[in-house]
Amino acid sequence: MITFIPPRLRKPAGIALAGAVFAAAWLVRGGPLWWVSILAVIAAAARAVSWYRMGGEDTDEGALAASRADERQKLLSLRSRALACNLAAAAAFIGLTTAIAVKAGWWWPFLVILVVTGFGYLLGLSNYGIAEEGTPDDDADAGQPRRSPVQR
């Protein structure tokens, strides 16, 4: 579905959608703070417009914002995401150990973040084929009995 959206609109549309979902959550919650949903919509709209404008710039950030990044820019983005994930996992570990030490009841969100980041890493290893190295021998050795290199 995303391929039908022009590249420059993809990230702004994602931001707008996330803002709409966040605003809907405040509306569903109800109560005296329902007006936060209006703030959320305004903030998301402003952010989406700023990303769209950034997409028109001839910079690395503009290329990423407009979904027209080349291989170097995609690598930059990937490294930044990896750094963000490492920092999130480290912060979650610090939070978890601190919560345990002070006998607080808010330890479990940190554990959830640690589990999700750890599971995501394992999922990545699985998806990107770390276990698909193939057979160790090439065709030249096929059918030959295995011998130790030290045996004569």
Partner: protein, 69 residues
């Protein structure tokens, strides 16, 4: 690893933006490759070499790095 991208580009009178458009990458990536801050992928290295009618080992020289190290 050194490369001859800047030398070849200027010999042909191309700007960085023109070369970037011809290679299908951004101007910033051409600048990064020329300055040696970014090593292109193998497909992009072949694209660059073919664009200048050179082989990859003529365009990118790993020996220069070893000599400088």
């Amino acid at each position: 690893m050194r490369n001859r991208l800047r030398e070849q580009r200027t010999q042909r009178g191309l700007s960085q933006a023109e070369l970037a458009a011809a290679l299908g990458v951004s101007r910033q990536t051409v600048i990064s490759i020329e300055s040696g801050r970014y090593l292109p992928s193998l497909p992009l290295a072949f694209t660059i070499a073919r664009f200048f009618d050179l082989t990859v080992d003529k365009m990118f020289d790993p020996d220069d790095e070893e000599a400088g190290a």
